[in-house]
Structure formats: structure tokens, C-alpha cells
Symmetry: C2
């Protein structure tokens, strides 16, 4: 039950190995007749090219690796959708690795990608040190999506988180809110610019003195705790949280405390995950064009891969920043005055 090889097909078809190889790769250099002959033999024998051998010999895999930081977060699934679409169109295979929210695992996955000689790598929401990411990028084209890295060898695709935060504040201010508190995302990807964007916007709208940041991280639990901490003092009229999970946690705790959202408190989340869209939650939030970000990330990677192929000097890394958009749902309301 040995697997069928090129050689077997060649023997069956009565031609050379090289010719079979050419046929398998759709080379235009073979005659119609022999192409048909070989193809027939191949299908008859159930031949399937051995990619390990092919990759080894050709030194390319036509495969990219995508490192997702957390399989549990729908954000990554949507980024991946965009990458898939673009990679498919360009004839690249895609394999996924999960970082399991840990730098150690992320590193393992990258090592494995490298050892397998993949043509390119996309890291999504990667937590690894920028230095490490650059190291990898020296060996193989790499682009980072969702996490900004200032480097001229790794391209990045992000959305403008400062701007997103501003949109959130602007929306709330437009509804008459002044007392707007930010629940922070700690070390999560994008949390820092969202925080600073919030602070800047508050100041710009002349309500900087109301600004207040409650430390937390990207979990529902943290959102609930943050609200808990606020419950003792005077309640703000609005909350802007660094992601949707925080918002949901906050929402829950508020209602538990007998406060109504949005009558008593308005909430704006961030990410527009499928969670926010659930009618039962219906969270006003800030959207990033995730699928598009994935697509653009692949495009950037492709540029880098092809220029490396053609031996050009490494092209200057590209840093694409997308625009976020406010999605208004049912957790925000004009303030009763």
C-alpha cells in the first residue's frame, strides 16, 4: 500500500519523471497529447503530489501561516475570513496556529511555521515582543494585523483606535453626556491607543476634568468589577469600554444594581463582535473593518513575498491604518436633562 509517486505515474504513462512533474504543475511546455496521457495515468493511479518533497525541492510552499492569538475571540475569526478570501484568490494555502493567549505558545507556533518553510506569516493580535517579531520577519515575510509595530520590515494593518475612541466619546457627547468614564483594556491589543484617544477627546470636547479611567482587562469579569468599584461613588452617565466583553460585564453588573441601560447609564463598547450584535444585548460599539483588514494584510504579505522572490531589496514596510466606525444600537440614549 505504498503511496503512488511521480515515478510510478511516469512508468505507467511511459514518460519521464520530469514530464509528469511539468504536467502536475500545469506547465505550458507540454503537448496536449502527453498532458492527456499523463493526467489519465495520474488519476487512474490516484496520484497526489507529495508536498513535502515538492516544497523541499522548489523551496516554496505556496502556503502562508496565520497565527491567531485566541481562538475563543470572534474577532480573530473575522480577520481570518479576510485572509482566507485573499489568499484563496492568490492561490495560496492557509494554515492556522493558535497562540492560546500565551506568548510561549505563540513563539512555538512561529518556530513551527519557520521550520516548515512557509512562504509568509500573518500574526493577528500577537502578544510577542516586537523584537521577537522582527527577528522572525528577517527570515520570512511577515505582517501584523491588529497590533501596531513600528518597524520597517514588518508591515502592519490596524484600525485607528484613537479615532475609534474619539468617535465613541463624540457620540456620547452628542447625546448630551459629559460625565463619561473609560473602562480600560490593560495590556490587550489596542487598549493603549483607545485610552489615550479617550483622554484626548474628552479634553478636546472641553470635559477633560470629567475624564476617568478605570483599570481592567479584556474580560467580562473585569467589566463587572470595574462597575462594582464605581458603585460606591457618584455614577457617571456614560461608560466607554475598551472592548465588547467589558461592556457586557458592565451592563450586567449595572442591571444587577438596579440601574437601567440606557435610561440611567449609556454604554459604548469596542470591536463590534457578534456579541454586540445579539439583539438581546444590542450594544452600541465601535466597528473595525475586520474582514477588510485581513484582506489587506494578505495583500501586504503578498507584496513582500513576491519582492523577496524576485530578489529585490526588501521593500519598505507598509503601515495601513483603517477607519473605525460607530455602530449605534440600544445601549446609548440622549441624556435626560
Amino acid at each position: 500500500m505504498r503511496r503512488v509517486t511521480l515515478e510510478d505515474v511516469a512508468a505507467e504513462a511511459g514518460v519521464s519523471r520530469a514530464l509528469v512533474s511539468l504536467v502536475m504543475r500545469d506547465s505550458p511546455r507540454v503537448s496536449r497529447a502527453s498532458r492527456a496521457l499523463v493526467q489519465e495515468a495520474a488519476t487512474k493511479m490516484g496520484y497526489r503530489p507529495n508536498l513535502m518533497a515538492r516544497n523541499l525541492a522548489s523551496r516554496r510552499t505556496m502556503t502562508i501561516g496565520v497565527l491567531l492569538n485566541d481562538l475563543h475571540n470572534p474577532w480573530f475569526a473575522e480577520i481570518a475570513d479576510g485572509i482566507f478570501a485573499a489568499a484563496d484568490a492568490a492561490g495560496y494555502r492557509t494554515i492556522l496556529g493558535s497562540g492560546r493567549r500565551s506568548a510561549v505558545h505563540e513563539d512555538q507556533v512561529l518556530e513551527s511555521f519557520l521550520a516548515n518553510g512557509l512562504d509568509g506569516i500573518v500574526v493577528a493580535g500577537c502578544r510577542l515582543a516586537p523584537k521577537r517579531i522582527e527577528e522572525v520577519a528577517k527570515e520570512v515575510p511577515l505582517v501584523s494585523v491588529g497590533r501596531a509595530i513600528s518597524s520597517d520590515i514588518v508591515s502592519t494593518v490596524t484600525s485607528d483606535d484613537r479615532m475609534g475612541a474619539r468617535l465613541a466619546v463624540q457620540h456620547l457627547v452628542g447625546l448630551g453626556h459629559r460625565h463619561i468614564v473609560h473602562i480600560d483594556g490593560g495590556r490587550g491589543a489596542g487598549a493603549a491607543p483607545r485610552r489615550s484617544g479617550y483622554l484626548a477627546a474628552m479634553k478636546d470636547f472641553g470635559i477633560g476634568h470629567f475624564a476617568r479611567v478605570i483599570p481592567a482587562d479584556f474580560t467580562e469579569q473585569a467589566g463587572a468589577s470595574a462597575v462594582n468599584a464605581m458603585l460606591t461613588g457618584p455614577m457617571p452617565t456614560a461608560l466607554f469600554t475598551s472592548n465588547d466583553l467589558l461592556a457586557v460585564g458592565a451592563l450586567d453588573r449595572l442591571e444587577q444594581a438596579g440601574l437601567d441601560v440606557p435610561s440611567d447609564v449609556s454604554i459604548v463598547g469596542y470591536d463590534n463582535t457578534s456579541l454586540a450584535a445579539l439583539h438581546h444585548i444590542s450594544l452600541t460599539t465601535v466597528d473595525q473593518p475586520r474582514e477588510q483588514m485581513g484582506r489587506v494584510a494578505f495583500t501586504a504579505l503578498l507584496t513582500s513575498m513576491t519582492s523577496r522572490d524576485s530578489g529585490d531589496p526588501a521593500p519598505k514596510a507598509d503601515h495601513v491604518v483603517m477607519s473605525p466606525a460607530l455602530i449605534e444600537r440600544r445601549t446609548t440614549r440622549r441624556i435626560d436633562s
Copy 2:
């Protein structure tokens, strides 16, 4: 900037290629002295074994492929967690492929796994025809998780969906409900046994005449529509939905119609996804031990892989069925009588 190879390291260390190879594979057949010598040379030169070459030569990859039907569904992330844990412990690498909810993509991913010569494959919630899955299983050890397949070459790990449905009905009956309607999952994995389990349980509890199945599929939208359809007639006191998403959709539509859950209608979902656990939703649901299922799936795969290695006749496929458990939260309540 050529990558450093075994040969380079051997030259640097002044030993043979074979010795370096042995050191890289931690063979006990090398002396302390030469091991140290080689390792030093390797790290100095930044050597990293080329897995394509290694796999080609050794005819094993120490890597398994995991095909996830849908990256957007948290169910898969949790199954994957279990597989990761077990595979790590056994020293296997794991790569992921997404089926993107389509049989075509699933097939592509499997083809790619095969062509890459992976040692084994786990398919999770795979929608491909059983016949096709068996075909693949003939070439490489394969186990299916979350989807039952009656075959004696592909092992399966599932949870007892009929039993899960019975638990749901039993819980509701225990709370005094009789008029319990089932919102169906259509062709989704597990939907059929849940439906038949529901029907059987209703009959067993002597309330078969109340049984009613509303056709739908595994989406929030379908849950809402199903409730919509019910709104015209007399409302049941309880709903058992084929998954959590359906439950959330139903929940939303009910509240929109002015009915309170659980005061007016109780709801039991299925899957115990993270969604159900959100405090804001707090759905009573049926849990499957997903992580454990993933772990067991890998174990079954490992059995199959090792016996294939040692040339034993293919072992009889194993069909593990796990027990579901009812998770009581806040969407069910004793009926007011």
C-alpha cells in the same frame, strides 16, 4: 544569507552529518562530549532543522491536522483546547484548518493535510459525507469529534445528544412544565439526535401529545423566527432549543413580544457556549465536556497512529460517547400553577 543546514553545522563542528542529525534528535547514542560540541556549533550558527526535509526523509511529521468546521463558533475553540493539551503532552505539533462552514473548503483542507503527509487528522463537526471521510481515513489515521460516523476505521467522540435532550425535558418536567416545544437545529451536527431524544423523552414522561417541533437551524435569527411563528397560537410554557444561539434568538423575540423569561416562558438551550454563561443572558443549557472530548479524540488518534506505525492491522475504531449535563441558570423556573 542561505539558511544554515545540517551540513554547515557538521563542518563547523568537524563531525559527520549523521552525528549532527543524531544530536538534533536527542539520540542516546552520542557521547556527552560530541553532543556538547555539536550543540554549541548549532546554536552559534543559529541552526534550525528543516522540517520539510526531515519529514520527507523520516516519513513522519509529528504533526496532526485539526479541521474545524467553523472558526466563529466557540464550540470549536473549546474542542481545540482539549486537542492542544493532549497533543502537546504527547509531543505532537498541531495545525489548524478552517472548513468555513462549507464542505468544499473542508475537502480542500483535508486534501492539503494529506498532501502534507500529516501523521493524523481530527475533524471537528465536519459536514463532509461520511463516505468521503472514510476515504481519507483509509490513508491516514482520522478521528471525528462531535459528529457520529458509523465506521470501523474512523473513531468518533461525541456526546450523547439524545440523553442531553432528555435531561432538558426532564428538568422542565421537574419544574412542572408539560407544554414544551422544541426548536430544531435542522441539519446542524447533533440536531437530529436532540430532536429524537426530545420526542422520546416527551413520550416517556407521558406528555407526548404536547410534543411539537418547530423547524429552524443553528442561528439566532432562526430562533427569533420560530418564536414569531408561535406567537399567533397559544404559547407553550417552555422551549427547548437545539443550540444556544437559537435560545438567544428566541429569548430576544419573546421579550420583544412582552413576555418575560422565565416568568412566562422557560428556555433551555444546548451547548453551554460562553454565550450562555454571560450573566446578562444566563441561559439554562446542556453542557458537553468539550475540552475532554478534544482530549479523548487525540488519545484515540494516537492509538491509531502508533498502531499504524508498528504495522499492526488497523485497530477497530473506537466510538466514545460522553455524558452531557444540565446547567441550570436563570432562564428556567417552576411553573406557576
